[in-house]
Amino acid sequence: MQHAEVIYETGAHSVVSFDDIDELKAGLAEHHRRAISGEDAQANLPRPAERVSKVIIYPEHPAGDTPDYSVDADTVSSLLSGMAQSGKINGNQLIEAVRDEMSPVYPVDQGRHQSMYKAEGEELPLDFLSDTAGA
């Protein structure tokens, strides 16, 4: 099953699963239509819908199926050499840096409309939203 990272105009991010790209497009187009029509995000719930700003497609969930604790050995070596001062390192800083390396999401905000995942994805053209009135 493929996944998409949907980035809304507000900066909200959402991972969406799909088997069929048309199913994904239909769902996002409907939410986008609600946003530009001033409708709610969900029936009987007074919360506004949000416009879709970017969609990135991944072959699987960009966070990975299970937690992956492996880190490239060369990366750890460079962390060690980069942190060394007078032949010593701060162990807690090293642990934090290694933890950030293991994380499938960037440990620093990449910007409101940028992907939060390190995985490589393919941006989906948003022309399917142009059929939505007023998009």
Partner: protein, 161 residues
């Protein structure tokens, strides 16, 4: 709203914080998920399972996902795009403690998931539906049923004290 802390969460504190376990460790990201099971039907040793039985926690979307997927919260504080916010401390002896909220996560639906009637959210690890560890859970404000084009928001808040 009912909440529950599961055995894995307390094991993590004992083994990883008080002790120094290499086997019970935090995941690389926290994953927020939705469940059909109300907290009143859960137990501290509940497991996530596709089988609706006993105190199992049953995740939505296992038969028909309809867009459903777990949403990641980074293991950082006020740094990543979606992570934990700064904590607040209440010194009141009887009711106080430290609270910490994660940034809100968003679920998007392209249809009606099955199973789909959502009664709670939980914090787990990994992204495979009905698999992985479960740490904490809380009831949703009301039972939610989703349709094409819907989104749902969850703001995970932890309190220790």
């Amino acid at each position: 709203m009912a909440t529950i802390v599961f055995q894995r969460w307390t094991d993590l504190h004992l083994n990883y914080i008080l002790g120094n376990s290499g086997t019970i460790t935090p995941p690389t990201t926290w994953e927020i998920a939705l469940s059909t099971t109300a907290v009143s039907a859960m137990a501290r040793n509940s497991a996530i399972s596709a089988t609706v039985s006993g105190t199992n926690v049953n995740e939505i979307g296992s038969t028909t996902a309809a867009g459903y997927a777990r949403q990641a919260v980074a293991r950082t504080i006020a740094q990543a795009g979606i992570d934990w916010g700064s904590s607040s401390f209440d010194n009141t002896l009887s009711t106080g403690g430290t609270s910490m909220a994660a940034d809100q996560v968003t679920f998007t639906f392209t249809g009606t998931p099955s199973p789909g009637a959502t009664n709670s959210w939980f914090m787990g690890d990994g992204t495979t539906i009905n698999a992985g560890q479960i740490y904490v859970a809380a009831d949703t404000a009301a039972t939610r049923n989703f349709a094409n084009g819907d989104t749902e928001k969850v703001t995970a808040t932890m309190k220790s004290g």
